[in-house]
Symmetry: C2
């Protein structure tokens, strides 16, 4: 049994996590969280909120999971969020082409077109792994779950969101206004997402339904600074750059936040600040910094919207380096495209201190060449979309990339010959611009699993789940030493008192004290509180520490307040009472 | 503007809630929560958890939203969770038949079959409200969102869950085992659900995607007691019984919990206990008990699984009495049907103190009559399902109802002639049984809206959202009196200190103090903390109370600990400092 097997076993046995719909045979990519797991998960989410949202003075949103087709036309998910599949001509089973190729040892770089993959597939001579039938075609398959909204008369197409962030983009104007038009403005969303993965393996790491934290930090592209970075500038951060990966140097370099920025390794302060905060976050969850690294994504790996992306990876026993968060510089991609598709101006306005001379860019779609290349109806539609776009962005993209991509059912590349760009100097009191976005994004299911791996220890034949006390699901267990002489009554009183003070506590009176300790250790209960005969006399109790198994004797009075400090990580176990020589 | 309009307006302006996908024109039945709303929502959920889960020593589950078809075949949702629709023969638009009838003043009792509704529709002479086309048919339309799981080769059908509770039923065995086989065992789930409502109106009250708390309390059918009921036995509870409704007496009777049980108005202690707790819950959220009542559902209103259901209703300004929670006695319906469909034994075992003589029931499907009535293949399938069911339940249902209903794509009623029942006395050391379930179920979106209605007040031209301090989204706002002389620096220091103590705090230095108070009042910030010149000398600050606008002068030292007590509702505003004569 490797560590994953051990944790899965513990997960099923003690209510951490287990496959969904087990009684119906389960279905890969779907997991549920039991009593301990669901609580631990929420504590991890709250720890994230405390650090990234409340600590930074930022905010949160809760948007729907189902969103209409227009949203994903604009976001590019309809055209880009696909896997390339092949289908057996005989048995009809479907496979991911890249998986088949990798299994046959054919190198398969990401980002290849369906056509290119089909060629590789044919060259490799692959056949259906199940029935040996022929595999001849390769087609893109969209990974979103599609739903019909409304009745059979007038249903509209919608999709389960594959990421949460589109909520923030679509609602940007509302939130920007209610937050009194400040930038940088971080808007987080903690919620479920859905992806129709073809053949998800890797247990709880590759899910069809999962919890994501998408954190969209809107910034002024002319001011990518983040003043609070001075607080973290000396923090070390471990990078594996794209450049080093291309040169086959897979060695991590450790630099400070300040150095990473000075050397241009990370593109801007906001991106870098939250990467450093992500290291602190995982450290707080029990993952040592040396078991973390940021791997920069190569050009061909990057999502369609990103200018620079780092994957925060952690070392896992079975799977090696595994992504648990992504840090992408999404630029103005999303807001710009929602602006184009909705026709709603999503730009913000910033007044200058005094009027300035600006270059005002204007664009005019050239109908003749649009119609020539796309046909009459489509040419007109593209022209309409272009007029709703920020002209300065169209001009910039045409200049920098040689084309401007319009999202939709399929992506359209507008060329310089399709648009006339004019520039004019004007006096302006301020400027309109589409905010840029830096997006740290965390996979909570993976992080939870990672936390379990780093907390899992064995002492002799006993499992001890050394969860950090700040996130432990159950904070304390209360035991009467024996089940008689009024000890259960007093222990129940202690238990109720802690419950009323809002602690998550378990009461357990069955079996020997040793077995009760063992049960508590398995689910990572930081404190075990035992009531004994002495308790009846002087209201003191024995507190036992999960991590060291040390014991102290503490008084009942004022215990709640001190425990509160203890579970917030402000005071240590030793000061909760006077040391007791462990009687084992 | 009525109260709903005012709250909607405030909701949009201050980030409470607003229609989803507004920039794409919105879509009825989808709402989002902004920065203040999402936080308030979470606080309401946590208040519920504290009361119903942690306070009762119960647990929680987090299961997937998408579930495979088998789950809803077993649960009865595939066959029962439908609206009856008609479709215009000309324009193709679809309508709910009951809505059309009610709009024409035709009385339309719930629970009518499609055929009966079609007749009423024809008799009423209804035509398409949009194009005056003919409406001739009426057909059931399932309200679940359907999805395909997997790729085009081998997709499996699944559905977005219309209620959360099926997760608890499907996972019952795991949770029962990890909770060491105790009953009663309450398993809660707070999560998103989806219903493809035909034409949802009523803004945030009728949603296609919503947050539900389904609380499945598993109990021993031979012991429906709940010892903690003694704590609430004298609590008043306001009932509108089915009997009184049938007799057209719409007057609420107020009885104590004890009386409700003694008079048989509420079927069991568990059901009644959590109803009383629900009153306390809403009261803590600011809804006075006299604005709450429990309306017993009439036989024809009740869901297919329920033996007795009470709707907890609250009085809303625009909509009158409105359901915010439902309290159903689901009996063994769900576990029994999942047992039948999965073939997994979901019964639990309880040992007797000493062996007892039991009547052991056995059932044998009678193939001849099954085949005669259902055909050969279907008859055999039904026989297979019957053998997986708890025989004592089949026998009981046949005796009490005259049939036993098997769930599935459509419901099947097995008659006494299809089954042979034998009874035999045996000596047994214990018994196997399918637990019964009491289900309190809360609509969080409706509750949040209700909370806003009861918190909304106007003082002169100012809006004051008097949210209970225990659930307020932002707990305190910190203001420097003026923007100079070191006051902003000191106020920022106070702000950061509170943030580090995990309080949700806003810092605001723009505009007059009066405007800042007004902004804080609109989103229900319980405390405004103002730093002035005196603060620089003696580290005292002015605290202003949201509810009374009274002020006290408090010292910075020990403030966090006292605020913690204050926000937990343990101490009152007056004791936070020494009274200040309000200077307005």
């Amino acid at each position: 049994m490797d560590l994953y097997d051990k944790i899965s076993d513990l997960g099923k046995r003690r209510g951490l996590f287990f496959p969904a719909f087990e009684i119906y045979g389960g279905m890969s990519g779907f997991f549920n969280y039991g009593p301990i797991g669901s609580h631990l998960k929420r504590n991890i989410e709250d720890a994230w909120r405390q650090l990234f949202v409340h600590g930074e003075g930022m905010v949160e949103l809760e948007s729907t999971l189902i969103m209409p087709e227009q949203v994903f036309q604009a976001s590019g998910h309809l055209s880009h969020f696909t896997d390339i599949l092949t289908k057996c001509a005989d048995c009809g089973r479907a496979y991911r082409v890249d998986h088949l190729l990798v299994e046959r040892g054919v190198p398969c770089p990401e980002g290849l077109t369906a056509k290119a993959l089909e060629n590789l597939l044919r060259e490799s001579g692959s056949r259906c792994p199940e029935c040996d039938g022929s595999l001849s075609t390769a087609e893109p398959f969209n990974l979103m779950f599609q739903v019909d909204i409304g009745s059979y008369g007038g249903a509209l197409r919608g999709y389960g969101r594959p990421e949460a962030g589109q909520g923030q983009f679509v609602d940007f104007k509302r939130i920007y206004a209610s937050e009194r038009e400040r930038l940088p403005l971080g808007v987080a969303q903690v919620g479920r997402c859905m992806r129709n993965e073809i053949a998800p393996r890797k247990g709880p790491l590759r899910l069809r339904e999962f919890t994501i934290i998408d954190y969209e930090v809107f910034i002024d592209p002319d001011d990518l600074s983040y003043p609070r970075i001075r607080l973290l500038k000396d923090r070390p951060i471990r990078l594996l750059t794209a450049k080093d990966q291309l040169a086959k140097r897979d060695e991590v370099m450790e630099v400070t936040v300040e150095e990473a920025l000075a050397e241009g390794l990370v593109k801007n302060e906001v991106l870098c600040y939250f990467m450093a905060l992500a290291v602190r976050f995982l450290k707080g969850l029990g993952v040592p910094p040396e078991k973390q690294r940021f791997r920069e994504q190569l050009l061909e790996e990057r999502a369609h919207y990103s200018e620079q992306t780092f994957d925060q990876e952690v070392w896992l026993d079975r799977w090696g380096w595994t992504e648990v968060s992504g840090h992408a510089y999404r630029t103005d991609y999303d807001l710009r495209n929602h602006m184009t598709h909705s026709g709603v101006d999503l730009r913000v306005y910033k007044a200058f201190d005094k009027p300035r001379t600006l270059v005002k860019v204007q664009t005019k779609p050239l109908m003749e060449s649009l119609v020539e290349d796309f046909g009459s109806a489509e040419g007109e539609r593209i022209a309409r979309l272009l007029t709703k776009t920020d002209p300065s962005i169209v001009a910039r993209e045409l200049r920098e990339k040689g084309f401007y991509e319009v999202t939709g059912q399929y992506p359209i590349r507008v060329q310089p010959r399709h648009v006339e760009v004019t520039r004019e100097e004007t006096e302006a009191a301020g400027r309109y611009f589409v905010p840029h976005v830096v997006e740290p994004s965390f996979g909570i299911d993976r992080i939870l699993y990672t936390v379990l791996e780093y907390a899992y220890t064995e002492r002799g034949r006993r499992i001890v789940l050394s969860l950090p006390r700040t996130i432990a699901a159950v904070k304390a267990a209360v035991f009467p030493l024996v089940r008689r002489d009024g000890l259960p009554e007093f222990a129940t009183h202690v238990y109720r008192r802690l419950v009323e003070e809002d602690f998550i506590v378990k009461y357990d009176e069955s079996g020997s004290i040793g077995r009760r300790y063992a049960r508590a250790d398995e689910i990572g209960v930081p404190l075990c509180i035992t009531v004994d005969y002495q308790s009846l006399e002087d209201e003191t109790m024995t507190l036992r520490d999960l991590y060291t198994w040390k014991q102290v004797r503490a008084e009942a009075s004022d215990l709640p307040n001190r425990l509160r400090e203890y579970f917030r990580g402000k005071i240590e176990f030793d000061v909760l009472g006077t040391a007791v020589t462990s009687r084992k």
